[in-house]
Amino acid sequence: MEEQVIYHPDFFAIPEGEGKPYLIAFHCAGCGKTWFPILPYCPSCWSNQFEKIALHTGKLYTYTVQNTPQAGVKAPLLFGFVDFPEEGVRVGAQIEVEAGKVKEQLKIGMEMQVIAGPIREEKGGKQVISYKFMPAV
């Protein structure tokens, strides 16, 4: 098996067994705002009392296919922002769809779900695992 490293395990969870991966957002006890990812203090009220909440599915706000990658990231790279309407949080991450079918499979406003997978390769070939999105099934 290839070597893997999880990027910020406090940003998302991969449950054992049947459960689907989810993002971990932080609901501020001081002012009620929700933030992702974890922050030391709430930017609005400076409280450090947070309650963890899980983000499972959201709506695609916008996306792009990047053909000029950063080092360690393969092109073409599909990237998008997903809105979680109830929690009031937007998250940007890589998106997975069937290769060559971006236009058919992605529509702004569609439901997206959180998955986990490799997002980049470090020097030496180690894979970095993090959260990603795909159209909800």
Binding site: T64, T68, P69
Partner: protein, 386 residues
């Protein structure tokens, strides 16, 4: 607070190069030399100096001192300032503040960047890999592509409308010998160029570049004494991004809207008074967002505005008369200063073939920096008047 009026007494810049034949330090020195000659002062009269250079990409600390030392400009307060693409404009803003506040009578702001010789050469500029979107691989082109994608989804606009920005700015650049690119392009060429990040093609993204620019500012008394054509800095405004991770409208530029309001207020002017704008057109969608943010058309009407010739010679306001970042190229830390040099030439009536007719008021605008949760990290605007 009682502020003194501030005037521009000298400007200078190098050509903007795809790949400069000289080092970063030398680009800075050449620009300073031109600005000092233009002002007609002794270099020893400059009482404070600020240098903008992005993120130490030249590979040196205290870059300004290295540029200035060997041309005898030491012994005065000098500071290196950095906020990505805003760096050079912030250097001028600091010089402005020194004169406005009465701290000194003559000050200089410089912007320099040598991207072809720096560690980012050959890659798309990207947010810091330690930020959550950076680690996922988002580049600056990708972030603007997503603004464009959403804009095309919400409003009456097509990729061909975005191409009009690149075509217009290249047509303007044909008259600017300082520009990296001058050969005119067509809408078809722009649309058929390689896609960098959907829907942005190569010709809708600014090329990296090298360049240096310098602006010397002074009191009204000093400017009048020198007898040059008076160009006043009627507004110099700097602001920073506000962290949010809720539902920011990516089809508008909140930081630029804020900075514009402050600038208009400071200058006592509004969009109807402005003859030209040099904006941060790093990506074609930027111009649409800035037409709107600066009040030249309503939100969502950017495409219609360019289709009708609004931001062009003969229209409501000339956007990017020097060819913008899209044609000149974008030497990041230099750009903000270079825009002020261009606006000064335009207000003096010295812009030759690209002269904006009867130019009385000009805006220069640079944002800067992809930082997680911020619209942009910085926004710097100047309104120059004659």
């Amino acid at each position: 607070m009682n502020q003194r009026e501030v005037y521009i007494i000298g400007v200078g810049m190098t050509k903007i190069y795809k790949k400069a034949p000289v080092s970063a330090d030398e680009l800075g020195r050449q620009a300073i030399y031109e600005a000092v000659k233009d002002a007609g002062i002794s270099p020893k009269e400059i009482q404070s100096i600020f240098i903008g250079e992005m993120g130490g990409l030249s590979g040196s600390i205290c870059f300004g001192q290295r540029v200035c030392g060997t041309i005898g400009l030491g012994g005065v307060p000098m500071a290196n300032v950095e906020s990505a693409c805003s760096s050079g404009a912030i250097a001028v803003h600091q010089a402005y503040k020194d004169v406005a506040s009465g701290r000194c009578d003559v000050a200089m702001g410089i912007g320099v960047q040598h991207l072809s010789g720096s560690r980012t050469a050959g890659t798309g500029l990207a947010p810091d890999p330690s930020d959550p979107e950076g680690i996922q691989g988002a580049t600056m082109a990708g972030m603007y592509a997503m603004r464009a994608q959403r804009y095309l989804y919400e409003f009456d606009a097509t990729p061909a409308d975005l191409a009009l920005v690149a075509v217009k700015n290249r047509r303007h650049a044909a008259n600017n010998p300082y520009s990296s690119y001058q050969k005119p392009i067509t809408v078809e060429e722009v649309l058929n160029a390689r896609t960098i990040a959907d829907p942005l093609t190569l010709l809708m993204c600014c090329p990296n570049a090298d360049g240096g620019a310098a602006v010397i500012v002074a009191t009204k008394e000093k400017a009048q004494q020198l007898g040059s054509k008076l160009v006043r800095i009627s507004a110099s405004s700097l602001t920073s991004g506000i962290f949010r991770n809720d539902f920011r409208d990516m089809t508008e530029m909140e930081i630029t809207i804020r900075c514009t309001q402050k600038s208009y207020e400071m200058a006592g002017l509004g969009p109807d008074d402005i003859d030209m704008v040099e904006c941060h057109d790093a990506f074609a969608i930027g111009e649409f967002l800035y037409y709107e943010a600066m009040g030249f058309c309503k939100h969502g009407e950017g495409a219609g505005f360019i289709r009708s010739g609004g931001p062009d010679y003969g229209g409501k306001v000339v956007f990017s008369p020097r060819g913008g970042l899209l044609s000149c190229g974008h030497p990041t830390g230099c750009t903000g200063t270079a825009q002020i040099v261009e606006a000064t030439w335009q207000l003096r009536g010295d812009a030759v073939a690209r002269q904006v007719p009867d130019c009385k008021a000009a805006i220069t605008h640079v944002t800067g920096g992809g930082v997680y949760g911020l619209d942009n990290a910085a926004c710097t605007m100047h309104i120059l008047t004659r």
